[in-house]
Symmetry: C2
């Protein structure tokens, strides 16, 4: 095999591992969003605010520590969490809006 | 327990699961970036382009299918992959720049 063929064979092998990891990531994210969906429903039902800055600070600090232990860039770990949390907060706000609309159409808070 | 206490106990339980999932995600991301670091080094050594649009399209289509099977939002799965790939391409470009600098300081391509 040429040097070029070797490089492509190696690239293909790395990509197979990346694809396996991505499948695991998607399935874990699916589970994570199931949890945050339940959190969103709970918060909406009990009129808790969608965002929780103190909890987010704890999560950031913990993930940065875990990243360092795993020899992973803590800055990117924090960016990753922020990316996920933005999506979660969007979902929670949408849930809260649905709850509010349901209350209004039920006549319990018709004035808004 | 009051209804409010129940809600907080439930929230705490959901958060414990989210924290476990996040630890798994960070460790998987650490492995993924190890793989893409190797890909970056290989690409830089063989002068392959950092981005590969055809590969990315295949990855997007596959992750969307996996997301649907996992009852997960395929739009978010795609956004997630784009977010990761942007970081990977940034890393590959940085590696390529290092290679180029090394070549230059080695006198093999002094004119740039």
């Amino acid at each position: 095999m040429s040097d070029h063929d070797d490089a492509w064979a190696q690239l293909t092998a790395y990509r197979a591992s990346i694809d396996n990891i991505d499948a695991a990531l998607v399935h874990l994210l699916a589970e994570r969003f199931k949890c945050t969906q339940l959190v969103g429903e709970l918060k909406a039902a009990h009129n808790m605010p969608p965002a929780d800055p103190a909890r987010e600070q704890q999560q950031i600090a913990r993930l940065r520590r875990l990243a360092v232990d795993a020899k992973f860039d803590p800055v990117f770990a924090e960016k990753f969490l922020s990316f996920i949390v933005r999506e979660v907060v969007r979902n929670h706000e949408a849930l809260r809006d649905v709850e509010t609309t349901e209350l209004r159409t039920g006549g319990e808070d018709a004035a808004g």
